[in-house]
Symmetry: D4
Subunit: 149 residues, 8 copies
């Protein structure tokens, strides 16, 4: 059985594409909270409001770290997707965190970001462009078969 | 003695500001190669040209990783500066890598990036805006004194 | 599934409040022995009486450490509650032990102890006042939902 | 050579008693910042004021953690002194942190706190009452000699 | 659930006394091969005879180490019994091995060996004389109850 | 239960001989992909063709490393077979990797390679010639019995 | 300062080429014993003769492992050279050992072995053909300069 | 430079034989306190008398553990000598402790104890009978030379 953590971009349905296409495989998926508002506000919603945006964000980011750090620590494979928009520094942070723990890293991005992501790609065991490729990799790693799913 | 690794943005002289202002302290500084061209081309310059940009970058990024991974592994404190421009995913990658190794993390950035860097800041022991603040922190950590240097 | 260790104050029913309110969640709870007399006397009850109070306590504390060290080592999250009374140095000891192992730390205390607990709070990913807040955090970490349970 | 970290109570001169009596030994001593005001205010002094006492303390405690975590990580022996006053939860936190890292722990306190500190004492390799006893232990560990210094 | 490894003396039925008295507890027991002849000859029986006693023993001891090292690595608690006869250096070796891995160590021996075993006892969380005491400890650690089983 | 990883030579049916003869034992076996063509071409099949043989192989070898590294990391015992043909440097690499992680290593080869494999054999807990011997070792480690299966 | 371990082929003077060309750099080099006869016979020369070639080699290989394991453990960078002749399984073993410890790996070999070494190359941060390239890499890693030495 | 810890028997001058014969080598030697009376009584001499022999010994053994654990942790090589007399369980404990930490282990004993020490010998990289052989090993490991010193 493989434990796979799906980190990074949360504005498209790439996680669903992977998990539904891989539903027949012996894989357990985990991911960050992908409800953008909940993720931003969880800290103050549970522990009380803050006047300063910095501390508002700080409380939320630490709460999310409880889930994220367990998700990465439990994973055999960490997939990190960089989307077309936003800075996505948390995605790169997760990639570095996973690399330091010796996790197998798969990075997903389009060609336009190739140069900017060269250090992240260099730490990866696979660099792909589509969710389908991730499913093919998981299929191959688990079954040894290259037949397209 | 403190080992400090200065990661991140390479287009301003922030490293020099820190190292010269801290020259009287018992600190050993390390940093990535900050010669942009050398950093980009080191792989092919030493190990031979590549037709594909991806592999050109890959060879260079891996070579730089020899220096970077040692710099972070040897450090007590990792300072990561996010500048005003560029994606700087390698800076965030280094921050995640350092956090997973349990290094003391200091993050430097301006207010405009506060929300985008909230997960990185949440892993840090200090968030600052200027090289001078880094020097004050190093002074305090080593000497216990808050007198401005 | 989350493994949660509930450390600290043993004179109120805060553990029961958490475990019953979280009974629908996929959480496994562990805790120290909360029977105060058993906890104090376990060593001499099993291994023989001691003339000196120091060794009486020593035998018991070491026996309890078998349970405590496993509870913390197995945990994803360690919750440490500081009550209104007593020195509770073992609670702070557990918090330091958990922090050094990289566990996600949640600290629970009232405002009156805020300054005295600042170092412990600084190592935590969440600081709360009530058992209900712990349940909300566990709910959020597991489900991504902020709806009050 | 022994690296010794002197943690805990900062209101008496016990550290000076140890370091001056042990000045002829091959020991390197480290300790937290013992200037109470600097320790409390370092965060806001360097990184800017906070309206909330919690965040004022939080910034300071994290900055102090840079020094403390290095001091403990570098140590062969961690001495933790519990004084007669105050809650001293940071002392117990340091003791737990040191124990989890497998450091040799020496605890110093008077008889009145024996029962409250039984879990901390149980993790220690020595429990003493005076700075002089710490010096005798360091002398013995380094030289094998029991002659009083 | 507790994983317990029962190391040491193999000439009395102490393991059976513990496992049958603890059969109602949520404990998984492991132990070395206790068939003395099989343990001595396993190496040459499977991998071929040796002329030299040293290599005969060497092959067997290494084969047994496959079982022993897994048993200790998987254990929460390692119980080491020193009997009345023989040198039992492998028992002390297992105790040292377990201590270095941070396992909870319980040592069982009679008073006559107290002085000779003082270093081993000093690394233990409990020192007992009878299998019944081990069962009482396991009962207490799992249930918090001191009622005799 | 034992986790066993079967590394090395992929041109004979030695893995089948072991797994079928050991089917009655509580052992979970894992192995690399043994379909030679799939193993060679998996990288380019999923992630796109390469002009250079080096990068063709590189992509495949990294993809296979996802499976291999998990297989070894999860294993209690790593069996490495060196066949009569080919360089088999990946087998020796796996043996070194397993040894550094402290895995119990069993090496299988014929006499002709004894001198060339002396460093690998020196890191092993057993050196054998046949799949049947591996089954006898697994039987002995699990059951303590030397009866031939 | 860099610690570099030079593993692998011992029949050409590649180590001398590196160490003399890098003599002006802040590098400390270590290597296995390269006196072939001493390396083969060290075990029996010091600890007594053996009738069986297997044990003759075994004693020597273990003695060499004292030096090799320290050399790799102390290294920042492990360079492994595969020559044109012999099986060189110990070189591949060292590469796997270094990779599992997270060392920066540089592999040196000619094109003819490219396919057979693809798994080893995939674990490396640089793949080179000549000692001169190793010196250029060390120069770049230490100084950031690509000027040929 | 090699760090060598000399554990075990304290009634003959074997340590002196090694350290004087190896005085020209780049080796740093450490050892337990070999003054038998000081070693037995250090605990009560510094921390106060005990009525019970068990606690008298306990205090001393824990104090000695401060020195012993550092000595082994700092060592590259741990030499453990088993003499002709006494149980020497602390020697076997040190050997197990060193083995679990991955230290290179050299065991010294005469033939009469070969069978009783087979598990300890199986964990060693060298088994010798004389101090002179230890010096020859250290010479070979450091210099690669087999010339008798």
């Amino acid at each position: 059985m493989l434990n796979v953590y799906l980190s990074g971009e949360i504005h498209t349905d790439w996680r669903n594409q992977i998990t539904s296409a891989a539903s027949h495989l012996d894989v357990s998926f985990n991911s960050p909270v992908t409800d953008h508002d909940a993720s931003d506000d969880c800290g103050v919603a549970i522990m009380g409001a803050e006047d300063q945006k910095f501390w508002h964000d700080h409380k939320g980011a630490k709460l999310n770290a409880i889930r994220t750090s367990k998700g990465i620590a439990d994973a055999d494979i960490v997939v990190v997707r960089f989307g077309e928009k936003y800075r996505q520094w948390n995605a790169a942070f997760d990639a570095g965190y996973a690399a330091a723990l010796g996790k197998s890293l798969i990075v997903m991005h389009q060609d336009e970001h190739q140069h900017a992501l060269k250090e992240v790609d260099a730490a990866a065991l696979a660099v792909v462009k589509t969710p389908q490729q991730v499913v093919e990799i998981l299929t191959y790693v688990l079954t040894g078969s290259l037949q397209k799913s």
